[in-house]
């Protein structure tokens, strides 16, 4: 019976959803996902396909980061991709972790992990590359 119901077109009904952090996160998964299409795909096309990992070394990074535009690009990619990924991981782990307290601890752990690694990335992008003289 359930199969018959689901194969029909979904009846249009407007539903009131309680506003809150979870709804905001849900919406931003869609927004950041759409934004990540140009960000992540350009990054992959450039670094993995066009330049290739064989050609990436500290000199290449130094050259690339001379343009402020690429630093902004990398910063946006770091901010959106990692937040998107961490929230996605949170959603997946929620499928296995039940209970209000456990989920709250999990969310805080992921948030702190996200913050620490984002800060390390931000330090790298802002600090840039210093090629050692020898």
């Amino acid at each position: 019976m359930a199969a018959n119901v689901t194969s029909q077109a979904v009846k249009k009904e407007s539903v009131r959803v309680a506003q809150g952090l979870e709804i905001t996160a849900w919406k931003w998964m869609r927004y950041s996902g759409l934004l990540l299409i140009p960000l992540a795909w350009i990054h992959v096309a450039l670094q993995d396909v066009i330049v290739g990992v064989h050609a990436i070394d500290i000199t290449y990074v130094e050259m690339r980061w001379r343009l402020i535009g690429w630093r902004i690009f990398d910063f946006l990619l770091l901010a959106f991709a990692f937040a998107h990924g961490m929230n996605g991981l949170r959603q997946v782990l929620f499928d296995f972790v039940s209970g209000e307290n456990a989920r709250r601890r999990l969310s805080w752990t992921l948030l702190i992990l996200w913050l620490v690694i984002s800060l390390i990335g931000a330090v790298a992008i802002i600090g840039g590359v210093a090629i050692p003289e020898n």
Partner: protein, 72 residues
């Protein structure tokens, strides 16, 4: 680097499938029915393979040139 070739496929497919979900959720949630989703899922997979093939070709070539001494 062999793994990277499959990583690129995963990025492309995750992207197209995600765009599919985002469009249905944000633009027309009424389209969440089995018939439309079957078609949309197939197209996401087909599109991902089509976008991946040229990238896979270039990356495989790079791999052969740099790691297996293919002279080109």
């Amino acid at each position: 680097m062999i793994g990277e070739i499959f990583l690129v496929f995963s990025v492309i497919y995750h992207g197209l499938n995600g765009v599919k979900i985002a469009i249905f959720d944000l633009v027309n949630p009424g389209m969440w029915n089995i018939e439309t989703q079957r078609k949309a899922s197939t197209w996401a997979l087909v599109g991902a393979i089509i976008l991946w093939l040229p990238a896979a070709f270039i990356m495989t070539r790079n791999l052969l040139v740099h790691n297996f001494g293919l002279g080109l």
